[in-house]
Amino acid sequence: MIRSLRQRPWSDSLLALACTGAALLLAGIFFFLLWDLVRPGIGGLSWQFVSTLPAAAGRDGGIAPVIVSTLLILGVCLALSVPVALGTAIFLAQQQRGLPWAAWTRRSLDLLAAVPSVVFGLFGAVVFCELLGLGYSIAAGGLTLACMVLPFMIRAAEDGLRAVPREYHLAANALGLSQYRLLGAVILPAAAPALLAALVLAIARALAETAALLFTSGYVLRMPSSLFDSGRTLSVHIYDLAMNVNGGERNAYRSALVLLVLLLLINTATHTLSRCLSGKARI
C-alpha cells in the first residue's frame, strides 16, 4: 500500500542484498558446522557420557575428568585475568591522552594480541612450569591462558568503558562525586553489558585453545585431584582423539558437541546476567 514511498535507488537495494547475503552465508556456515557435529555426535550423547571416566584412551567411556579440568583451567584463567584486565582497562580509559606509558601499554597490548598462542604456550612452559615449578599442571595452563586472553580482554573492556558518555563524568564531577563512586555507581553499571560481552569472547577464546595448553597443562586423562595435577581440556581432548587415537572420532564429535553446549550455556548465563545488571542499574 505504501510501496511507492519505499522505492529505493538500485544501489541501496544492492547493498541491502549484499549485507543480507553475507549474514545468511555466515548463518549457513554455522548451521553446516552444527549439523556436521550433531549428526555423528548426537547418538550416544547422554548424561552418562559427561559423567563417567574415559576408557581405552578416550575411545570409550565418558569425559568427566576432561570437563572438570576444563572448568578448573578456565577458573584459574578468569580468576587472574578478570581483575587484572578490569584494573588495567580502568586505568587506560581514565587517561585522556595522557601519560606516555599509557600509550606504550596500549601498543604492547595490541602486539601481544597478535602473538600466536603457541608462543604463549612456550612462554608458559618456561615461566610457569619451570621457573615457578608448577610443572605440567592445571594452574600453569590457566595462568598461560590468562596471559593469552589478557591483551584482548583489556582492550575490549577499555573500549566498553570509553563508550560511556563523557557527560556522566562531567555531571558526576560537578556534583562533587568521588572518582570511586563515579566508577562504581555510574560507569561500571553503564559499561556492564560491554564488559560482559568482552568476558564471553575471552572465555570462548580460552575454551578453544589447544596449542598453548599442550605445553603447560599437558594431556593427562585422569581426574585431577588438585590444581597442580595435569589435566586436559575439551579442545585438547578433541584434538587428541582426532589426531592420535584410532577410532576416536565418535567421541571426538561428542566432545565437540559438549564444548558447544558449554559455550552456549556460558553465553546465555552472561546475557541473562547482563540483562539483570542493566535492569538493576535502572532501578
Partner: protein
C-alpha cells in the same frame, strides 16, 4: 594551573573593565557581600588565551545573564567557577576567583565542598543512566546524608521545587532516560538543588529544549531567584531580558575575549555604555 604568562598590557582592550574600575561603578547591589568575585581571570587552552582579565562581582540572590557570541568563552568562564576546568586537557586559569570570599583557585581548596556549594547545569541534560530516585540519592549519599528518610524528604522537596513531583511521584524507580528532554533537565536541576548550593551555574539550560519546555525552565529560574545566586549563560536575548537581574556581555578580541559590559538589566538594555553592547542587544550583531 596558574602559570600562563598572558598579560600584555600594551594590547589591552582599552574599553574593557580589565582594570576593574568601570566594573566597580556598575556593580549592582554593591552593599551586599558578593556571592562570586572574579578578578582578572584569564583562561587559556594550550597557551591560546580565550578569556582575558575578566573581573566580575555577582551579588547574592540575583540572576546574572552571561551573554556573548558563540565561542567567546562563556562556558569556559563557568567551568572555572567550580573548577571543572581542572578536568579539561590543557586548560589553565589565572587570576582570582572567590566564592563568598573563599579563594577557590587555591591548591588547598576542597573541591568536593566547592562543587556542593556551586552547582552546575549543562546545556544537554545529563542525568545518570540510573533511576530517577538514584539520580538524586547518589549525590546526597556522597555528601553524607546517611538517613534514607531524610534523603526521601529532600528528594520530594527538590522535585516539587522544579515542578516534577506530580509527574514522577509514581515512577521514581523508572530510568531517568525515560523522561522527556525538558523533564530530564528539570531532574538535573533538582539533583543540583538537592545539595543545597549557594550558587547555580547554568550553561544554556533551555537551548536543547522546545519553547514550552524551555519556558518551564525559565519560569523555574525566576522562582529560584533570591534563594540562589544564578549565572545563566544564554543566547536568547529575550530570555536574558525576562529573567536576568544583571547582564554581563563578553566580547571576543583577537587576544582573548573581554568583559565588555556588566550592568543591571534595565541599564544595559536602555542605556548601554558601549556601542557594541547596544548593537548586540538589539540583535543587530553577533
Amino acid at each position: 594551573m596558574h602559570a600562563n604568562p598572558v598579560a600584555d598590557p600594551a594590547a589591552r582592550f582599552t574599553g574593557s573593565n580589565a582594570t576593574g574600575h568601570s566594573c566597580a561603578q556598575s556593580v549592582p547591589a554593591a552593599d551586599a557581600a558578593p556571592a562570586l568575585t572574579l578578578r582578572d581571570v584569564t583562561v587559556a587552552y594550550h597557551d591560546r588565551v580565550v578569556l582575558r582579565d575578566v573581573s566580575l562581582q555577582l551579588a547574592v540572590g540575583r540572576v546574572t545573564a552571561l551573554l556573548g557570541p558563540s565561542g567567546c568563552g562563556k562556558s569556559s568562564l563557568l567551568q572555572c567557577c567550580n573548577r571543572l576546568s581542572d578536568l579539561i586537557d590543557g586548560c589553565r586559569v589565572q587570576g582570582n576567583i572567590r566564592v563568598f570570599g573563599e579563594d577557590i583557585l587555591a591548591a588547598a581548596c576542597d573541591l568536593r565542598r566547592l562543587r556542593k556549594r556551586v552547582g552546575m547545569i549543562f546545556q544537554k541534560a545529563n542525568p545518570f543512566p540510573l533511576s530517577i530516585r538514584r539520580n538524586i540519592e547518589l549525590p546526597l549519599i556522597e555528601h553524607g546524608v546517611r538517613d534514607a528518610q531524610q534523603r526521601d524528604h529532600i528528594m520530594e522537596k527538590v522535585l516539587r521545587d522544579v515542578g516534577l513531583w506530580q509527574e514522577v511521584r509514581d515512577r521514581l524507580q523508572a530510568p531517568a532516560q525515560s523522561l522527556s528532554g525538558g523533564q530530564q533537565q528539570r531532574l538535573c536541576i533538582a539533583r543540583a538543588l538537592a545539595l543545597a548550593p549557594d550558587i547555580l551555574l547554568m550553561d544554556e539550560p533551555c537551548s536543547a529544549l522546545d519553547p514550552i519546555a524551555g519556558g518551564r525552565i525559565e519560569e523555574l529560574i525566576g522562582e529560584l531567584r533570591g534563594r540562589y545566586s544564578i549565572v545563566l549563560v544564554t543566547h536568547n536575548l529575550f530570555q536574558a531580558r525576562r529573567v536576568a537581574d544583571d547582564v554581563a556581555l563578553l566580547w571576543p578580541m583577537p587576544d582573548g575575549s573581554r568583559l565588555l559590559e556588566f550592568a543591571p538589566r534595565e541599564t544595559i538594555f536602555s542605556a548601554p555604555q558601549h556601542e557594541l553592547t547596544g548593537l548586540y542587544l538589539r540583535g543587530a550583531m553577533g
